[in-house]
Amino acid sequence: MADVEEKVITALHDHDTFLDSSELIINMGPQHPATHGVYRVRLHLDGEKVLGAESYIGYLHRGVEKLGEHGDYRHYGPILDRMDYVASVSNNLGYCEAVEKLLGVQIPPRAQYLRVILTELQRIASHLVWLGTHAMDIGAMTIFLYCFREREKILNIFEKYFGARLTTNSFRIGGLQFDTYDGFEAECLDFCNDFPRRIAEYEQILSDNRIWIGRTRGIGILKAEDAIALGVTGPVLRGSGVKFDIRKAFPYECYADLDFDIPIGEMGDTYDRYLVRNEEMRQSRRIVMQAIEKLPDGPIMGKVTKVIRPPAGEVYHAIEAPKGELGFFVVSDGTTTPYRTRIRPPSFVNLQALPPMVRGQLVADVVAIIGTIDIVLGEIDR
């Protein structure tokens, strides 16, 4: 770590052409309104211009990966909820599927469709949080509350179904614990029918706003090859124009039966990523509507033993979480406790793109770029 830091600093000094002005080092975070949690970025400034940035993480480290090695396979779900806490349903989906792959269990179609409906609703909720906070970082504060108004409806559905709003402990290994409540489909459809009007409202406030365009167009450009080299995934990668979505590339659950598009950007700037996420919300709505239409009857739990004891072996399974590729690497030694659980969180990898993106931009852009990556610190620090 220390020599990496040294390298970064010497690299910064190499292109220091400002001989007469000393650079100002400023700590943004860990307690700063725009770092979305306890993230700290150390900025080297020349006036308002950013010469370089270094990330410091770990303020929210809770040992999530290590905790996985201590309990039963089933006990891990509630802990994972605390990872990406604005998209806890996706966290659970990734883990449950990884263990199901290890067990070789096929889950019934009804459970698959319900899982898809719930994770896509969660994707919309997560993107709404992103849009609200991102817009608020750039100064448009009204849209934050508009987004939370819509998110509230999704959380109400979650509350009725899971019994919790944020940390839902959504799925069980092998399927679902509960079948839907009466009126679940109607409530989801109700939300879906209302939602396009709402997105149009957000876009009316932002998309053609000259200040918004000025603040996001050409800011934090990430070229496609750089994005791939950095291992960036999710909307950030698609904003750079790479058409990669795990839902299409390696379909899981019932995504292969559903019809949806993958929006991509052109320039890879902040505005493109904004458009991509907005379009993703529309596509998620499409997926939810289709899945509700096709929702089959039947059992919701696959054939899973009471005690989960996967055969010795290892598996890597990745899903498309709202923020990108969320991967779980689970190693079993044939006992009831995982030998190792390794998580590949999308925010952690995407955050790598921050220093190259902010270099040469202004202080105000750093805030916009942190927002556009859409990080959640619970997931980065684990």
Binding site: L24, I26, H32, P33, A34, E48, A135, M136, D137, I138, G139, A140, M141, T142, F144, L145, Y146, R149, I205, L206, N209, I211, W212, G214, R215, L362, V363, A364, D365, V366, V367
Partner: protein
Amino acid sequence: MVEYFLIPAVQILIIFLVLLLFVAYATYLERKVVAFMQVRLGPMRVGPYGLLQPIADAVKLMFKEDIVPAGADKWIFMFAPVITMIPAFTVFSVIPFSDSHTTVFGYPVHLYITDVNVGILFVLALSSIGVFGIILGGWSSNSKYPLLGSLRSAAQMVSYEVAMGFAIVSVLIYSRSLSMIDIVNAQKDMGWWFAVIQPIGFFIYLICGVAETNRAPFDLPEAESELVAGFHTEYSGFRFAIYFMAEYANMILISSIAATLFWGGWLSPFPNVKALSFLQVVPGVVWFFLKVFFFMYLYIWLRATLPRFRYDQLMRVGWKYLIPISIGNVILTAVLRLYFRT
């Protein structure tokens, strides 16, 4: 003795107290209006509809600890908020709320404190002093975010004052006087508000007014998401409240000047049209405050709607657009005035 000392002293006291009340309730207005635009209720707990909230806030801030950060320049740090507040309140001495006057104990009493023949210059001079309090406050805090905030605000206020000055000059060409009373009376004589005659000047003044008061979308000096709270990051308790009061007093001030210069001050709409003379039943001071209220609402509306400019974009708007346009407007006005004498 009574005429020159006692009556002005009482007048000043009354206007100051009323102004303080207005400042306090400007925060309430802002919170309520923004809340309704954002589908929520705003303050509702203290008093009916939260009407006592500003008072509760003031009391709370007064009892808070007055923290001076280690390494701060103590005296400047403590004095800086006062430097910002005093000019903000002093300027109201030349704002004419109405031209009506009564007699108290045989002495005429006006609804303004004084009428200076260089009124608008006085306003500009004093409002430029306010920026010193912001620079000194940020600089003396011995902290990086306030320093950045005060640097920004200094640059912003200086550059927008230029365009604002030119916008005012374009009005002065028509009014032929710097006295605030005469400026309103000139609008009465012409029969039009200067906003109609000087739309460009009015528009530039409005934009610069927002920038001068550091309000959204030009609220860079205190951009919460970038600089935490800008120049007053290190302030707490009542010193923070003083900065806040100064900001809202400045908002009211900018609105008052906009109403006086461009919307005919205390005049009713179209003061010379006979058919609308019934509007003059409403006292002038009510018209004045309605206009001020409208501008205040406009500021709040802007804040709820627009994202924030970036520093360089703000400078570009100021120097590349507003200043050239305002200079061109002055020249155009002067030429028109010369050839079409009224």
